[in-house]
Symmetry: C2
Subunit: 459 residues, 2 copies
């Protein structure tokens, strides 16, 4: 643990080593992710149909299963320069604390004001909207990481932004809202009276706390009924996994410098954007038969899409206004028990990752909340970074794998994604510190009921 160690605590690439291409994992997948379907016709969504909601260039990225490398425009790279490259950190202090022969590395994406990796795709999506000559974009946000990232990107480019924020988060997370306002975004608690969808829900359920599904419906409605606006989304979509590939490309370049080949690569999985981005170039090598890696997706036991879900076509939103995606899903009507990993509470999973998991290319593990916070606290105290609850799912499994190495005496190289910081998640930490946090997982009956509502489309 001294400066004589050949691998530094933090491996930084130089700025001219920031990747100039995103890597499109789909190009190397033998079985491509299934196409999005129009729920009315059950036929693949066309570019024209998608273009009513999304920017043209993003539609083209969404549908492109073939182009392996997609150039990152200079203006986006300029923005990346402000907060990238992000470091790969060797967790020397954690290794010492665990007394493990394993070598633990983490790619840290939290050192920017959005507090997470979301900024990587937010700037890309905002850029293409600006390039198309649009006035602005709309989106929904729950916990607020995505909304913050998008507000930073829109402020930088001079683009208008309307965020529909789930009402309960709007009230309980005033800090996040204020960051978005400081970046010039207009933030509306959802449901609101600014859209037909919002008014309908307010009429039917006066006093409702809102939901992500409702906020999506409002954001999509605003975008499609106002000239010069499009809707953008921070996870699940193929385009988002594409943009997030910069995480894995940088991580691989940094480790390659020190001839480190990770044996295990671990990421938390909600909609799958961070995990997909982190593993992309490594998975590419595995798909091409060049190298082998173990990949572990970590999800909350309260929302276990991979480990207990179905691989089926389903709505991406509870409001059922979005296209159908083929993915591991718990059913769009599934409501996870209250838990604090806000960003991992999505009922479905990226179609890309779903296909790879279905094809046996990766593993998945579900972990319970209290064990996640136990890992988070240990990490904070040894590595000096207060992790986001979402990221802490990956920390939990990285620690578990390192402890297995301690038992077996093996010195494996473990890489995990530390997607963000927990500065706006302190009510969850308070629950843990107070000893009032409880675990809760869905029963088989809960899941059967949700599965019964899966849409009746040809699978």
């Amino acid at each position: 643990m001294s400066s004589a160690n050949p691998i530094p605590y933090k491996i930084f690439l130089s700025e001219n080593e920031i990747p100039s291409f995103w890597y499109n994992l789909r190009a190397d997948m033998p079985t491509k992710p299934a196409p999005l379907l129009n729920p009315a016709t059950c036929r693949p969504m066309t570019a024209a149909e998608l273009g009513r909601v999304f920017c043209d260039e993003l539609v083209s990225q969404e549908l492109d299963n073939d182009t392996r490398l997609i150039p990152i425009p200079d203006d986006i790279r300029d923005f990346y320069h402000m907060y990238r490259p992000s470091p790969v950190v060797r967790a020397y202090c954690l290794e010492k604390k665990l007394d493990t022969p394993a070598h633990i590395y983490y790619k840290f994406e939290g050192n920017n004001t959005s507090g997470s990796h979301k900024l990587n795709s937010a700037i890309a999506q905002a850029y293409y909207a600006k390039k198309q000559g649009l006035r602005g974009v709309t989106t929904e946000t729950g916990a607020g990481q995505w909304g913050t990232a998008l507000s930073m990107s829109c402020a930088y480019l001079g683009l208008d932004l309307h965020v529909y924020m789930v009402k309960i988060s709007y009230e309980q997370k005033p800090g996040r809202k204020e960051v978005m306002r400081t970046y010039g975004a207009s933030v509306t608690p959802s449901p609101s009276d600014t859209t037909a969808a919002g008014r309908a829900i307010l009429n039917a359920h006066p006093g409702t706390n809102g939901s992500l599904g409702c906020a999506i419906s409002e954001a999509v409605e605003y975008a499609t009924t106002h000239e010069g606006y499009r809707y953008v989304l921070g996870s699940v979509l193929n385009q988002v996994v594409l943009h997030q590939s910069i995480i894995g490309l940088e991580a691989k370049a940094a480790l390659d410098k020190y001839n480190v080949t990770p044996d295990i690569i671990i990421g938390c999985a909600g909609g799958g954007s961070n995990l997909g981005g982190l593993i992309a170039p490594f998975m590419g090598e595995k798909l091409r038969g060049e190298k082998d890696y173990r990949f572990i997706a970590v999800e909350p036991a309260s929302c276990p899409s991979f480990t207990r879900g179905r691989f089926a076509y389903d709505y991406c939103d509870t409001g059922e206004v979005c296209p159908l995606a083929k993915m591991y899903t718990l059913g769009s009507q599934f409501i996870p028990s209250p838990n604090h990993a806000g960003g991992l509470r999505f009922h479905g999973m990226s179609p890309i990752l779903s296909q790879l998991y279905h094809d046996g290319m990766m593993e998945a593990r579900a972990v319970e909340q209290t064990s996640v916070f136990e890992a988070a606290e240990l990490f904070a105290r040894t590595e000096g970074i207060l992790p986001a609850p979402e990221s802490s799912h990956a920390i939990r499994v990285a620690i578990d794998e390192a402890l297995k190495c301690k038992q077996s005496g093996q010195s494996k190289d473990i890489l995990f994604g530390l997607t963000g910081t927990g500065y706006f998640d302190l009510s969850a930490y308070k629950n843990y510190n107070d000893g009032t946090m409880v675990d809760s997982i869905p029963t088989d009956d809960d899941l059967s009921q949700a599965f019964a509502q899966l849409p009746k489309v040809p699978q």
Copy 2:
């Protein structure tokens, strides 16, 4: 603004370039800072007297006006490796926005979970306490940056920590408190019934919101009445400026790599630890006649120690239990109007900086709150970092100087200290965003009344 630019956005030193010595500016000062006085005897505090409150090694650093370079112990350097070196950032985006020929650089100390530069001294003070075989340390915290930094350091070293947190902050900043608890600190709202000082105040003023002065009294009392404890302090003291010299040493090394010599160096000034640390090696060159620089201390107009204070011996705390320090002061009984730059609300100033200012080696400027937040918002939107209100005082003057360059056509190199992030200051941003923020400066009468209560000691 492309990658062809010879100076990168972020200049990182490599880890083996992290300084191995702190630089003791006092060694190069022709007039040394005046010694701390025992208020009972009005004679200089001896090492034995100071040793009842502070750790032995820190007492020795406090009193050492001669040793120019003081080695940083390996264990502290290991900890520094976790979050240092911090980058010097070239503010290309801000320069472009201002359309100025000036080159703006900032040394960013906020990329760690404490959110500020405070960690640099916290780990040093905790280390020496541990080395002395102590069980723990005590401190006070207002806004909570110092308490957070110290809790991280104590968790890392396995040292007990009792924080007395000003009651109003304890209630209004639950996030900060939770971070400290996550790092294992015990946090007590002050005044409390755990000390005689606290009980006396509770009796005299039931329902009081507390004050920093009261919290200091309680922390000192706890440390001096419990076996194996000492008290530690995050600013003002000579030892703190010493530890913070790592900011300036790294900044200078980074700029030297690109042959950049700053014309103007700007820092916000509360107790003076960040400003003292940032300017230390540059001021050393100026004192030794090797180079010339302009230094600007920026303070809030609501608490203008340098620009409207007296250079006199005064108490460091409102409770008048601490030694007397000769410094620019508004009087220990001065109460600044409510403003949001919590860390800059101290009535006095580092004795080192006070002497240098008195000797004409640096300038000072007082700025009003709304203009500070205007600068903060501009900075956040262009440079992508939400700055702490304290740090934003420096941003304000850096922008002002860059705009002067625009008028004059001069291309000056400006360096400022970005001490921290504003993630826990969003109620202040809310005031600004809502348009309800007001400026308020003390009247001459306010100051005269406070000066009248300065202690009657030989100056």
